[in-house]
């Protein structure tokens, strides 16, 4: 027996955030006939359920495009699946685990994120499961470093935008994060955490802000009546924030040279909405776009100040706020580049919001 084989399947990593639950599942592809025979029925059924569907219930989704194929993990070969569902469906998830007799599998369920604490009791009473609770920042960093090291099915996990200040020439390019330290890691979930990472073991949480993905989505719901994040982003992509925001040029007629401020810079987010006429003339799309721009710019601003204070010039943005959100990514890339006069680089990772869950999975295997 090799040590690694001691870890019994199934291998899960769970990250229960404020809005979304992220689940990674390692599907072993090297199961021997002997193993197959020994495999209990409900383990088989779980594997089958997860790998043969792309949607679970009405809200669970498997991000098939993110699947990592032929991954070797703890001596086993297999595929890593990425699944998410809203946190408010946690009770149903626990219920399902209970129905599928997950506890009889005698596996440890490693979970991180605030929900690992919040739902610990429910897991125990409803699902007869003892969670292994893990710190979310530890998991996040482990996950980032691991996924970046294995790459994205032969491609680079990390990328950046070249010529972010030039709309025509701007393009997404791979970035080699071989020597990652030091880096500023900005995790944008419902809220935002900013970490300075100096080595695998040495990191600190620099600060955080409550103006995050939850704020964008929450405000959009209130302002536009939309009900999903996708819908909010879709609206934003068709809106014009300059109708809502007051720009430097709206005040000075052009650049404000005394302070070196370009006319296109936002002077006051939602500043035009102080006027009744303008409030009546903007569309929901404009409001969604302005909300997105406001939140994104603010995160960029805080991240830039942290980078300066910590003397770090690479800023990696992760978190599910960036999922299908090219507008924000390009805005962050642009803002960091422009306001730092090219000194700071914004980097992004393909698996945006899943690093915490990956970290939790790694903890499971590492603790074997």
């Amino acid at each position: 027996y090799k040590l690694v084989n001691l870890k019994v399947f199934p291998w899960f990593g769970l990250d229960i955030g404020g809005t979304l639950v992220k689940l990674v599942y390692f599907e072993p592809k090297d199961i021997t006939a002997e193993e197959e025979e020994e495999e209990v029925e409900n383990l088989k059924s779980i594997r089958k359920y997860l790998t043969s569907n792309v949607a679970y219930g009405s809200t669970g989704i498997r991000d098939v495009h993110l699947e990592l194929k032929d991954l070797t993990l703890c001596g086993r070969k297999g595929n890593l699946h990425f699944i998410r569902f809203p946190t408010h469906d946690m009770p149903a998830f626990i219920q399902m685990g209970s129905e599928k007799h997950f506890s009889s599998l005698h596996t440890t369920l490693c979970a991180t994120g605030g929900g690992a604490y919040k739902f610990e009791q429910d897991f125990r009473t409803m699902g007869d499961l003892q969670l292994c609770k893990l710190d979310e920042l530890d998991c996040l960093i482990k996950g980032v470093l691991y996924i970046d090291s294995v790459g994205f099915n032969g491609r680079s996990e990390c990328y950046y935008f070249e010529n972010p200040t030039d709309a025509e020439r701007c393009q997404k390019l791979p970035f080699n994060l071989e020597n990652p330290y030091p880096l500023l890691l900005v995790n944008i979930g419902s809220g935002v955490s900013i970490l300075a990472v100096y080595s695998k073991e040495n990191y600190k949480r620099v600060t955080g802000t409550s103006l995050g993905g939850g704020t964008f989505f929450g405000l959009c719901c209130l302002l536009t009546g939309c009900s999903t994040f996708e819908e909010a982003l879709e609206m934003a992509s068709h809106g014009d924030s300059t109708k809502v925001d007051k720009l430097v040029r709206d005040i000075y007629g052009g650049d404000y040279e005394r302070f070196g401020l370009p006319g296109w810079a936002v002077a006051s987010s939602f500043g035009n909405m102080m006027s009744k006429e303008k409030r009546e003339s903007v569309s929901k799309e404009d409001l969604a776009r302005a909300t997105l721009v406001t939140i994104t710019n603010n995160i960029g601003s805080i991240a830039r100040m942290c980078a300066l204070n910590e003397n770090i010039n690479r800023v990696v943005f992760v978190g599910n706020f960036l999922r299908i959100n090219t507008i924000s990514m390009r805005l962050l890339a642009y803002a960091l580049d422009y306001w730092s006069k090219g000194q700071l680089k914004a980097l992004f990772l393909e698996h945006e919001g899943y690093f915490g869950a990956v970290g939790a999975l790694l903890e499971l295997l590492g603790s074997a």
């Binding site: 939850g214 405000l219 006051s268």
Partner: protein
Amino acid sequence: MPMRPSKEWVAIKMAERGGRGSGGHGSLDKSITLPPDEIFRNLENAKRFAIDIGGSLTKLAYYSTVQHKVARVRSFDHSGKDIEHEPLYEISVQEEITARLHFIKFENTYIETCLDFIKDHLVNTETKVIKATGGGAYKFKDLIEKKLGLKVDKEDVMTCLIKGCNFVLKNIPHEVFAYQKDSDTEFRFQTNHPNIFPYLLVNIGSGVSIVKVETEDKFEWIGGSSIGGGTFWGLGALLTKTKKFDELLQLASKGQHTNVDMLVKDVYGGAYQTLGLSGNLIASSFGKSTTADKEFSKEDMAKSLLHMISNDIGQLACLYAKLHNLDKIYFGGFFIRGHPVTMRTITYSINFFSKGEVQALFLRHEGYLGAIGAFLKGAEQDNPNQYSWGENYAGSSGLMSTSPDVFPMQRTRSGTFDMFEMDRLERPLVNLPLLKDPSTYIPDTVDLTDDAMARKYWLTCFEEALDGVAKRAAASQPDSIDASERAEKFRQKYWNKLQTLRQQPFAYGTLTVRSLLDTREHCLNEFNFPDPYSKVKQKENGIALKCFQSVIESLDSLGWEERQFALVKGLLAGNVFDWGAKAVSDVLESEPQFGFEEAKSKLQERPWLEDSYSQWLERLKEGPPHKCALIFADNSGIDIILGVFPFVRELLSRGTEVILACNSGPALNDVTYSESLIVTERIAAMDPVIQSALREEKLLLVQTGSSSPCLDLSRLDKGLAVLVRERETDLVIIEGMGRAIHTNYYAALKCESLKLAVIKNSWLADRLGGKIFSVIFKYEVPCK
């Protein structure tokens, strides 16, 4: 990233009043009548105008000269005259011209009426230009030029703001305050630091500008944020359908943000303990409104928005402060202006993000900074920065109540015409070089803003004494036909100030006995009662001088040790003669012959309430003579002549030089510098010790630069400070209740000091654990 431009005045000023009362009231403009002796005062002599026009408020500044009466004393030529029956010196009331800065704030609605009024009352025709700043300066340019016939000269908004900020930081004591939530005193006023630079000014208008100010002329825009007052207003209007800024703040103050925000405990079920984040922290602003099904209350959304914006600004301010290594952050702009709700959230945020290392600071005259700066730009040739300036309490409205629920009347009035006046002091004021730590020196012993009991007592005390003061003022000018009318106006004005202070003790900074006394002096001056006690002082000085020689003789007949005690008792007994204390003025008014000896007999027997006489005696016996003593004198008459001078004479005989410091201007019956000159001259004529000391410049008379019955050792005449340094002063003697108890009781000096007084107020005596006429004799030696 959306970086804020310096200041966007149109929107800022619109927000300032939240649209209240502005617009659509064109017909109202003309209907207001301006009372000329209350608003736009001294317009006849006005020159150098400046105006700062925002979206809803206009701030007008002008410089003018004020002619007012001063009492002058002049020595008679006594040669060949019957000295016995002549008064000691002549008192004449003369006109003096001093410079004053006037600032008036009013709603833009009144601008036309105000401009007309100014035009009608403006006499001075040398004025050609008006300096203008603020977004509205464009809009009203033509109107101003047409109405006033002055050329509008525009100045950069941020430059004006910073200039104004530097000016108030340097010149106005208690300009800066920290906001304290849920405290009995919402405002914590700060001691003026001798060095105001560098600091960070965070101006929260429609967006946020963060400016680093390094010197008088050097400042730099280091960053900003687009999430500011405009975001609160604009987004708030969208979310709540509430149009006015003030109403949004009202909503916010009633809401529960926890219904809208996702807290750490909503995510974790409790605190995030690994990081020590409390469960009540906001994890995601508006994180609970991520649903289309639920309704949220306007109040809750407004509150959540307020927290979101305040926290964000506080966080960025802290990040900038850290990057630039600054620990003083002043906040201004319409988002802050007089709103306790925003001061509270910003204070919380700064405290949270700086982990308590940085304090959010606010300015009393924040709304005037632009106007002050614009004025200063126009007045550069007058070198206003060369002078010291003082806030005139009589002519300034003070900080109005910031609570929207309390005193709605006053808020409305302050919204109409708010005034701020500063007097130019003829001589620059500086710190006493002997202060142990100028940056922590607080003159006042009791903070009446803090101490509600003491505040109540003193306000009542001043109220009760007011009729007497007004009567005395009227009586002091028997030849003036309008004296009683003016005295009544004085009474009314001071009464109103006292009522304001009852409700808003923070109106002029920290409320103290000193500020109450000073306000009374300012009000007396306002109605041309420059020196109500001049005749009393004259008479008392005359009487006391007649006794001088016999007092000296009897002192000289005593043995050394007895004499030292008699000298100290003389100082203390002289101090009983104080018209400022009601108990004594009763006795003096009813028993004019109440004499020096009788005063001595009233004194408490040793041990005194505070008694370090033995150490003082020991010091005189054992130690070398002091190099130079600085004495702050108190009352005229018996105090200075029979109390202080014999003491001075003894010091001189020991070989100690003496600097005798008297007030520059009159206050109560305190001896003024000019009176002290005459008195000294007369004593010198009788006493060879004093005479030779004067001739050899071993006795020096100086003025304090003050006209207060109290003493602020951080604002003293520069000449005095120079002399103190030159003569290597090693002993400071402060006498009297005003100077040694109400102020400076706890003042720490670098050299030896004597603080002595007789407590002539039974409440205060009681508080200090003694009885009326208890003696304070505090001899202090700084620890090495």
